[in-house]
Symmetry: C2
Subunit: 439 residues, 2 copies
């Protein structure tokens, strides 16, 4: 029997501590299944903190880069986080010194995934990152291994639990974005600085990894169009409900005629779709591919144990020698991502306007859209709140919400038409625009 795989873990936060616990609990089971796994060393910022884990038998390193270089290891597990700095230095050191690397660091991969994969390839070692996207859901393995018979046309999903939690609560309780965010922070579902989550950037990092795996392309996070959820109002969720939709923050990567479109934005999805059923901090990823059709994976996208489950699966794969090119193809065979610009995006749109309550305003707006060849699927004008005014003068001073949904049109066309509507002076606020995905 081979010697056990000697593992070092850098970063003992929630995920790191859980990895240590699972490796201890599953030591026998991992050994029974093949080559064993032994935790031999750890590194973290503070040494004397009660994490509820037993690291007495392990060597301690103050410096994760020194841990990464240690000759006592076969496999370096990076759970430090951050796209640069010590996480990057440590992963590079591990790969350069011929060690396998397992990481959950999506920011690092989004920024430097290609270079790190090249380094892994050069040194003949694994660079495994199941935990970097959608937490405990085995989406990396599915894209890289289980769909070898398929050309993948689209990968999309709910990749950020914080945003889904906030949107779910806003929908169920009619609360504002700000109130739900504050609650999410109180419950530990959102960071003190929530921009990374609610601004869509975390989803974008994960999407860049999935897109590279799905399409066999060089990772290109900069090409992603990103919109967050902070502009979504209770009225949008109410209107979505009336129209048969829910609003989810989706990451979508799809191959279309102009290249590969990668985008993150709030999205109207049909209420009876599988993705619409995903509530709270749960994640879900749907893959469309030519042979298998559509498959959807649903599960916990974050949390110490769920993320650690993915980290340990990667470690077990490394122990059994079950690894290959990090992004599924040798570096030389990854294609350059041909970016499909967002302006060329085509789809349906939900548009909410604050329209001055004047005769002809709605007609003028509809005319502007018609001039741009945009077909309306529905138009709803809500009565203004407050007293009913019989006097047109008084009515004309206040705005009423008008909601339109369109059939498929282009991002350029809808933007240009709405610019004209703004210039016409009928609306009092910038338009709210939410893309519709009917699939």
């Amino acid at each position: 029997m081979d010697q056990p795989l000697r593992v070092g873990v850098a970063g003992l936060g929630t995920v790191g501590a859980s990895v240590v616990r699972i490796l201890s609990r599953r030591e026998n089971a991992l050994g029974r299944a093949g080559r064993g796994v032994r935790l031999v060393a750890v590194s973290s910022r503070t040494r004397n903190r009660d994490r509820g884990i037993d690291i007495e038998r392990c060597a301690w390193f103050d410096d994760p880069v020194a841990l990464a270089r240690s000759s006592e290891l076969d496999c370096f597990v990076e759970l430090i986080g951050g796209s640069d700095g010590v996480a990057k230095a440590a992963v590079e050191a591990a790969l350069e010194s011929g060690k396998h690397v397992v990481t959950a660091n999506k920011a690092l991969l989004a920024a430097h995934g290609l270079d790190l994969a090249r380094l892994a390839e050069k040194n003949g070692v694994a660079l495994a990152f199941e935990a970097s996207a959608a937490g405990g859901i085995p989406i990396v393995k599915t894209l890289r291994e289980a769909l070898a018979g398929n050309e993948i046309t689209r990968v999309s999903g709910i990749l950020n639990g914080t945003c889904n939690y906030i949107l779910s609560r806003m929908e169920h309780e009619g609360l504002s974005f700000e109130d739900c965010l504050a609650d999410a922070q109180r419950l530990g579902y959102a960071e003190a600085d929530p921009t990374f989550d609610v601004g869509g950037f975390d989803t974008a990092h994960k999407l860049s990894i999935l897109a590279s795996l799905a399409f066999g392309t060089e990772i290109d996070a900069d090409a992603i169009y990103v919109e967050g959820i902070s502009s979504i109002t209770p009225l949008d969720l109410k209107m979505a409900d009336d129209l048969g939709f829910r609003i989810k923050l989706l990451g979508v990567a799809e191959r279309n005629k102009s290249g590969i479109e990668q985008r993150v934005h709030p999205t109207m999805v049909p209420k009876d779709s599988a993705i619409a059923q995903v509530m709270g901090v749960t994640n879900a990823v749907t893959i469309d591919a030519d042979a298998v059709g559509e498959i959807t994976l649903v599960g916990p996208g974050a949390g110490g144990d769920a993320t650690a489950s993915a980290v340990v699966a990667d470690i077990a794969d490394v122990a059994r020698g079950r690894f290959g090119a990090p992004f599924g193809l040798p570096i030389a065979r990854l294609e350059k991502m041909k970016r499909a610009p967002m302006q060329r995006h085509e789809g349906g749109y939900y548009v909410r306007l604050s329209v001055l309550d004047r005769p002809g305003a709605a007609a003028a707006i509809a005319t502007r859209l018609a001039q741009a060849d945009i077909s309306l699927e529905s138009i709803v004008q809500r009565r203004a709140e407050g007293p009913v005014h019989d006097d047109p003068e008084q009515r004309s001073l206040r705005a009423v919400p008008v909601v339109l949904t369109t059939y498929a049109t282009s991002e350029t066309a809808i933007r240009a038409a709405l610019d004209k509507v703004s210039a016409d002076g009928h609306i009092t606020e910038p338009p709210q625009l939410i893309r519709i995905e009917r699939e």
Copy 2:
């Protein structure tokens, strides 16, 4: 670069023809990802049939066993079907002659999986069977590889598209089982002899494979309690709807205090659960495990291309040397399945009785259940169809449906109580009993 993996396919039905098409279409892509794959030989019952595939370059074998033994192959793909006979002989011949085997044959695995895995282990070759359970859903890979850090407590799901199609249509259109089955047969979703599907046996074969992978036990299909869907009536579906449930044919394998319970039966699931959203021929599998919590995989459970997608993924894994023990553990380390008998099953029950419309009948039934310590959650008595009779004599001659749901009780207790209810002479037909799963 290694020589391509030389593949022979036995069985050119819908799945076999699709495998041939995909291998041809993906030849370059598979080569780019690592070792290439080349189809070198095929075998089928009839040679001269237009299958819309190009097998001109392949050797033809009339005898699949001869194909399995051929020294021109590295990997034998068995798509013949059937638990014994030529499929078994061919797979054994392939393994004995040192060839990797990829199969979609759940009946073969359910009956002989352990012996075949032993043969594969002895010869150091792969026995891969992703396509044998839940078609295009990568559930075998997920259980065997992606959850190495977990102790799995439960695996359950909708594993037969025919049954789910029939139940979905019965629910939506209020049709009888017989009418929906006839439609399913007309549309090619059900076989001429539907027993295997609607009797639950196909689900049981698949469940036996998933249970072995989930729990690290020797496959034991004989231990599965099996009930099909033919007794489900439109009234049951209507009552389920009123009570907040849908009815699905579930396969469930779970570890409980008496051992491992494996069962297949129609099941009431909460309408808002993920599994309840799965309609038509789609399959879904949910895994409960200690670290990851719950993950669900949804996708096509059958169909030529979806099943072929799983077959080709297995072939690609074999080509890349990415295989190990067929059931995740070496044969010597698979535990014997400790069967938890169905009589010990505990859960909620839906009971529908045809009760003679006499004073005291409902009270007598409730008393029998109370005597057995069974707590009722709800009781609904429907008015009999037809004219209202003021005469108690006339009423007492006809039966009215009474539906009860219970809190958790044991299979033994509910069966014994219903036997007494039958003996009391209040009911005119055997009770309809459907288990409730609230998770």
